[in-house]
């Protein structure tokens, strides 16, 4: 069923009685050409692009819970392509371009909102660093503008511009950045993949990966063995556990990141603002709640919930930056498990096991990457070779030293 304004009207006039489910709930087949493990944004996008661009439709997506129960439905919905390093910039810009055409491509309203992402700077050296980043972006064909304090003041009323300790000196603005309704991304890709024949198998947990003479032949699941010629892993925070089923040991740690939503208020912030003197990013949802977050908690975790020190820290940053936020109550808070890599950059690659492919290491920035990650992973699985856009995201780069370390923090996962 195609969604359109006309369809909306027709269903409205007939009492909304004939809408059909957005996707099927099929029984698992004994075998598929390709299995994608993980029904998050990346797994579902991969299935969509495999079917649409590579004609591979004998595909199943295996999800242990319900579609979108992982990080794709837990993030703070920010998209941007303001990266510095050559391995990253073209990939994230490709993702931005796919976001710009996504809703037409999948016939789904994902509420892609290019409201801008503004990174504030608070010192001369920070401004120099942003000027450098902005120039690198523009050289790579990405939009970037360096704003001075007066421009920031005009753009974001309510900011604590003149704090004695951390005055706002300006900011780096990417106007094409913004937010996207995260659940809709999962649902939209799911529906698009399903309509091309992909089986979406929910409540199907992978419990083992069967390998015969160095080649993957299928996966054990809570609903029995399912055969496959190719298996792609896109399980985010659970990557180490699932990869261990195939005997792989990875440069990944699982960490918890929290997010917060305030009570709804009238329009207050019409862009995405990040604080440069602490770790805070904040935007306002269409319902009026301020959506914000900060650092990971910093210790290994699979618990999908965090602790109070980080809650405290994030609230402190929020009130420093927007003093008016001290009057708000916060409504909800939750956590998701991040696949933190040792250089802060992702992995989209083959593995030493024939037919087994790996997509992981997204740290806390993988939502913006969803379209390009699925696009590149589909290419890698379909052709057996990485695309130029993900050629730098190799699994062996840690052993060879070709790491992509945007922060320059070294091999300590909780600093990325």
């Amino acid at each position: 069923m195609r969604y359109s304004a006309l369809a909306l009207l027709r269903h409205a006039l007939t009492g909304n009685r004939s809408w059909t489910p957005a996707w099927r709930d099929p029984a698992p087949k004994p075998a598929y050409d390709t299995i994608i493990v993980g029904g998050g944004g990346h797994g579902l996008a991969t299935a969509h692009y495999l079917a649409k661009l590579h004609g591979i439709t004998d595909v199943a997506v295996l999800e242990k819970g319900y579609l979108g129960s992982g990080n794709v439905g837990r993030n703070t919905t920010i998209i941007r392509s303001n990266y510095l390093l050559p391995g990253n910039t073209p990939f994230y810009e490709h993702s931005m371009k796919l976001w710009e055409g996504l809703e037409q491509d999948i016939n789904y309203n994902a509420m892609v909102s290019q409201r801008g992402v503004l990174n504030l700077c608070h010192s001369d050296s920070q401004r120099d660093a942003y000027a450098r980043r902005g120039n690198a972006m523009r050289l790579a064909g990405v939009d970037a503008e360096l704003l001075d304090a007066a421009q920031v003041r005009a753009m974001v009323p309510g900011l604590n511009m003149d704090s004695v300790r951390f005055p706002v000196k300006g900011g780096l603005l990417q106007r094409r950045g913004g937010t996207v309704r995260h659940d809709a991304v999962a649902w939209g890709y799911a529906r698009a993949a399903d309509s091309r024949g992909v089986d979406l198998l929910q409540n199907t947990e992978v419990t083992g990966i069967r390998v015969q003479s160095g080649r993957v032949v299928g996966v054990e699941t809570t609903r029995g063995f399912i055969g496959a010629k190719r298996v792609g892993l896109a399980v985010a925070g659970n990557t180490s556990r699932v990869a261990a089923m195939a005997g792989l040991r990875l440069p990944i740690e699982s960490h918890v990141l929290q997010a917060f939503v305030s009570e709804a208020v009238k329009p207050m912030i019409d862009t995405v603002v990040t604080y440069g003197a602490g770790h805070l990013y904040v935007s306002q949802s269409d319902k009026g709640g301020l959506v914000f977050g900060g650092d990971i908690d910093g210790y290994n975790s699979y618990a999908q919930r965090g602790n109070l020190p980080v809650v405290h820290d994030v609230m402190e940053c929020a009130v420093q930056l927007f003093p008016a936020m001290s009057r708000l109550r916060y409504l909800r808070q939750w956590g998701g498990i991040m696949d933190m890599s040792m250089d802060g950059s992702p992995i989209i690659d083959r593995t030493p096991i024939e037919g087994l492919f790996l997509n992981c290491g997204w740290c806390y920035g993988g939502f913006k990457a969803t379209p390009a990650s699925g696009w590149c992973f589909a290419h890698t699985i379909a052709t057996g070779q990485p695309h130029a856009l993900n050629a730098a995201f190799r699994l062996d780069r840690f052993a060879t030293g070709a790491v992509i370390d945007e922060k320059g923090a070294g091999a300590q996962a909780n600093l990325h």
């Binding site: 180490s240 556990r241 040991r249 990875l250 440069p251 990944i252 740690e253 699982s254 910093g298 210790y299 290994n300 975790s301 699979y302 618990a303 602790n307 109070l308 020190p309 405290h312 040792m342 840690f398 052993a399 091999a411 300590q412 996962a413 909780n414």
Partner: protein
Amino acid sequence: MRIPCPLCGERDAAEFSTIGSAPPPRPAADAPTEAWHEYLHLRENPAGMHAELWQHIHGCRQWLRVMRDTRTHAVASAEACRP
């Protein structure tokens, strides 16, 4: 989350900082690259009991080897150590 410091007693996690997994023994300076790669980059990353290093930075500054369940955050033990 609270950590039982053997010197200061049970204290709030906010007083501590962690550098992550208690590492395996450091390879010899002339060990092959592969050994250094494993030591620096590869992680067990268990869902369950995890040995890790914490420092009581806002307390006695002692380094601790902590056993903690990564599924529940429950701390089973904390012993003084040299990192």
